[in-house]
Assembly symmetry: C2
Homo-oligomer: 447 residues x 2
């Protein structure tokens, strides 16, 4: 049921059992935060937990905390918690480094596997080695940059698809035989469009390729079933829907069929089988632990644990499926309210309307003559306490890749009434030309 | 002057202008902390600063803090502060990732440079490509592991020297023509022995090789002059003498002659020339900023800044040279007191006695029949509040690489009296056989 007036929203919110989860967070008064896809909000428990990590674990217990506070296992402990959100088993995930670095690890290993004799003999034997990493042009740039670095080193090709809808046909075509790895972000950072992870994984496997999934906009946002989908590798971000704090460590998952069998290149000492033996020769730890590299940033990693705990707090309420149901209700409501805006405001929903093709984000674009006003409109909304963000379009193809106003919907702390109010603010900002105020034109280094 | 009785120590401490710097730290009562070479202590300002980062910058200002709190420039801001401690200029250092990851970046670039046509034409042209990374067997293992990974990828050889004193002769020999990179940790993590960074850099250059210096036990511990020594690359650790907190981000320096000219492989989006243009093609930022990879862990990086500030607080007192003078006084005192222990206790100083060959750490070993007791002795000392640590020897060569009792001396917060008392505790632990208590035998995952 979609509530299109505010009283209905209030009534639905009052009846919402997930409302209790709002208590997990400290949000500033008057803020409608629609940017959890960029930086998750501060969990209520984080400040006290960090104070304890700093004052007691570090300040008082000092090096003893590597053992007594379990610092040495923190990548695995937090990884096990994240695993519950993405359909992975215990011992299959570690929290470590950044999304970019984890991608570097798994993409290298994926290419090593595809080049291995055993794989080449088993998977559609062919003369020409598989040398193509397939991705989409609007994948998040850091993924493309890392793939470019690896492709240059290994004489591979990063091939970019303009329209992600073409990917299944490419996988099924003769091109499929060239592919080593299909590398995609499940939910697109610009459009909020969601790939069919299971179907594309199956199609990639049918083509003899492996899959690397970036779950930056999936983990904590949509239910993911990595093991069920028989995916090969996945990475993801700690500071978006996982509420881990700015620049929180990322995570990495490797299917158990590969985790023990290949070495990742960033072979730091905490991925060693016995780091405190201080051996001169690298011997990788069993399983996913070999994907840990150097000493982890304990403060940021502890904050990530608090963030992940806010998602796990939803387990008694139905967990990710319940969060997904509310997320779809919120994004359905937002889309319906935007659709109901006067046509002359020129606001268009970019994100697909089918539930299965959508993450937890809705992206809008403004038709001419306001197309270039997107940045200022977002700034005017922020000044009103409605926080979304702006992603510039591709100047060479504004038709196909327009400027985007992004709004993320986190069911842990957002209400239907807030969604209703957000669209009301958007209408006022456009109706009144408030966005034309010059203070909304100035851009910082980070937009 | 070395004070060999406690009253002299007290008098010298009372007259020490650096004593004021002790106020920068919160140390537990009754603790004599001789492990700043493993984990620096908690600066007094860190807890409040992190509370502000968490509650205000993240909790209240949210994504706006990327601009308003300067999160986006934090790797450069902290890097500039670290630069003042290691003889580097502003804009030459970034704080990022871990020591292991930064080594992966610079070692790759160093090999790329050596393989480049321009370099090969300029530096002692020869037929055979330079394929050897030279290091020492007792270098910190993570450095060896990363070098092994890179060597395997590139068909290079990691050649390990047993006795670091042999390195100058190797560089001057025919072997020098095979060398691509000399990769050393300036101060050895086991023995506390310090290489002559300037002389070895010059010798490596004379052999046509480049240098990669790990400053993990140097930054904040001894004065370093990277630019003066014409070094090529350096990396280092944030959580030892820089007091940045457990697993604090590391740092990386590249000589300006190379910083702009080569691409490092871990090409994440925040090393892009214009990250927020979201270009599909990687274009490295100018200078050292290209050595940033993914989004930095802001909480841990903010704590690192507090830690570095405790070192910069020494600048009005004479800075690193003044800290070095006190460090040498403390380690001289410790060595003299250990030398004065009864011979039958069998305590031997492993660290070189010459000032120039010593970092800010003194390592001891126990002669038979107590050689195997090192771990328990350290645990007994910790129970008394004297915190050092233990590093097991090489079981194949305990003569050459014995078990080590490590003691780090941080002049920011240590007094001569504490050093005096520490050795008195050591004597009592050995005299009374207190270390034989079974509670000192149990080992945690981290020793």
């Amino acid at each position: 049921m979609i509530a299109l007036d505010r009283a209905q929203c209030l009534a639905l919110d009052a009846a919402d059992p997930l409302r209790a989860l709002t208590d997990e967070f400290d949000l500033p008064d008057g803020v409608i935060y629609l940017d959890g896809n960029s930086l998750g909000v501060l969990p209520r428990g984080t400040a006290a937990r960090l104070q304890d990590v700093i004052a007691r674990e570090w300040g008082t217990d000092l090096i003893g905390s590597w053992n007594t506070a379990g610092w040495v296992d923190l990548p695995q402990r937090v990884g096990d918690k994240i695993a519950r959100l993405i359909g992975a088993g215990p011992g299959q995930v570690v929290a470590a480094d950044s999304t970019s670095l984890n991608l570097y690890k798994v993409l290298t290993v994926a290419l090593d596997i595809v080049e291995s004799t055993a794989y080449r003999d088993a998977e559609q034997p062919q003369d020409a080695p598989r040398r193509v990493i397939l991705s989409e042009r609007s994948n998040f740039p850091t993924d493309l940059y890392i793939a470019q670095s690896i492709a240059a080193q290994r004489d591979c090709e990063l091939r970019l698809v303009d329209n992600p809808a073409d990917i299944p046909a490419i996988l099924a075509s003769d091109e499929g035989a060239e592919l080593a790895v299909l590398m995609l972000t499940e939910v697109n950072y610009r459009t909020g469009e969601r790939h069919d992870l299971a179907a594309l994984t199956a199609a990639a496997h049918a083509a003899g390729a492996l899959t690397v999934w970036d779950l930056a906009h999936s983990a904590g946002a949509v239910p993911v079933d990595l093991v069920g989908a028989e995916a090969d590798f996945a990475i993801g971000c700690g500071y978006k829907y996982l509420n881990g704090g700015p620049g929180a460590p990322a995570f990495v998952w490797v299917h158990p069929r590969y985790a023990d069998r290949f070495r990742q290149p960033l072979s730091g000492w905490l991925g060693h089988a016995d780091p405190f033996a201080f051996d001169t020769a690298y011997e990788p730890a069993e399983g996913i632990s070999r994907y840990v590299c150097g000493t982890p940033p304990i403060l940021s990693l502890s904050a990530l644990e608090c963030g992940v705990d806010t998602l796990l707090a939803a387990e008694p309420f139905g967990g990710m499926p319940a969060l997904r149901a509310k997320s779809l209700e919120l994004t359905d409501l937002f889309i319906a309210l935007v659709d109901a805006l006067p046509a002359e405001l020129g606001v268009t929903v970019v994100t697909p309307r089918e539930h299965a093709r959508r993450g937890s984000q809705v992206s809008l674009t403004l038709a001419a003559p306001r197309h270039e006003a997107g940045y200022a409109v977002v700034q005017a909304l922020i000044a009103r306490g409605v926080i979304g963000d702006f992603r510039a379009g591709d100047p060479r193809d504004l038709e196909g890749h327009p400027h985007i106003l992004r709004f993320g919907f986190t069911p842990l702390y957002l209400s239907r009434t807030q969604v209703f109010d957000a669209v009301a603010h958007l209408r006022e900002v456009l109706d009144t030309d408030e966005w034309r105020d010059e203070r909304f034109a100035a851009r910082g280094a980070v937009t």
